[in-house]
């Protein structure tokens, strides 16, 4: 038998971990939004995607969240005409990453909201445990 409140703490902690991993992916995408390939005509940085899945924790009888996969976005790259660029092909076009900065910022906001929600659960569970202990005290 496991304590539901400590299970709640553990679950929201796994949520926090998942969301911080998501933020890491978003920051990679944002930082590499203009990273091109090294040689002429080579592929630039391709946007990374992150997916989650639930994982059953037998010890706590609870469903945690974990990262399923960090994959690559297969959508086509945009091209820009820049003949002087080292990664330009013979026609003078450079492949640019398929990162949409607006999309990444929206994703970041969602990550932030989800993180906050998990933190709220943690605060609530902790408060409830502390109230229980206070009941024991006086």
């Amino acid at each position: 038998m496991s304590d539901p409140l400590s299970a709640a703490l553990h679950i929201s902690s796994s949520g926090l971990r998942a969301q911080s991993e998501r933020l890491r992916v978003v920051s990679e995408n944002l930082a590499n939004a203009r990273s091109t390939g090294k040689t002429a005509g080579s592929d630039p940085y391709s946007r990374k995607t992150i997916t989650f899945e639930s994982e059953f924790d037998r010890a706590r009888q609870a469903e945690l969240v974990k990262i399923k996969n960090i994959g690559k976005d297969k959508s086509p790259f945009t091209v820009e005409y820049e003949p002087g660029h080292p990664a330009a092909d013979e026609t003078g076009y450079v492949k640019m990453p398929n990162v949409n900065v607006l999309l990444e910022l929206a994703d970041m906001r969602e990550t932030n909201r989800s993180y906050e929600a998990n933190l709220k659960v943690m605060t609530q569970a902790r408060e409830m445990v502390m109230r229980d202990i206070a009941l024991l005290r006086d």
Binding site: S6, L9, S13, R17, M122, V129, M130, I133, L136, R137
Partner: protein, 111 residues
């Protein structure tokens, strides 16, 4: 800090034994045999087990915060471990206070 806590809990345990011994004396021989075999022994055992658990959690919390300072553990891990340690410490303190007040209650009893 941990040594003090373990000293405290072992002190609590011995105190508890003396309390239950007082109970045996006051309860008489026939009930004391039942009590010794059954509930009282298991109660102090349970308390010792719980305090061991609390000490283990405190140690985990300290190890996690040290790893966090080193940059080897994530912030979430440190927070979770320290919160678990805090909860067990608060519970241990609350139980100790209860046991001490129970002991004082008994020692104040008029014979």
């Amino acid at each position: 800090m941990l040594e003090q806590i373990s000293a405290l809990t072992s002190g609590t345990d011995s105190l508890l034994k003396s309390v239950s011994e007082t109970r045996f004396v006051s309860a008489g021989p026939e009930t004391s045999a039942v009590g010794q075999a059954g509930e009282t022994a298991s109660f102090s055992e349970t308390l010792a087990h719980v305090s061991q658990d609390a000490i283990q959690r405190l140690k985990d919390g300290e190890a996690a915060s040290l790893a966090g300072v080193d940059g080897q553990a994530s912030v979430q891990h440190v927070v979770e471990a320290v919160m678990a340690a805090e909860q067990s410490l608060q519970t241990a303190i609350a139980i100790r206070d209860k046991v001490v007040s129970a002991y004082q209650e008994i020692s104040r009893m008029t014979i």
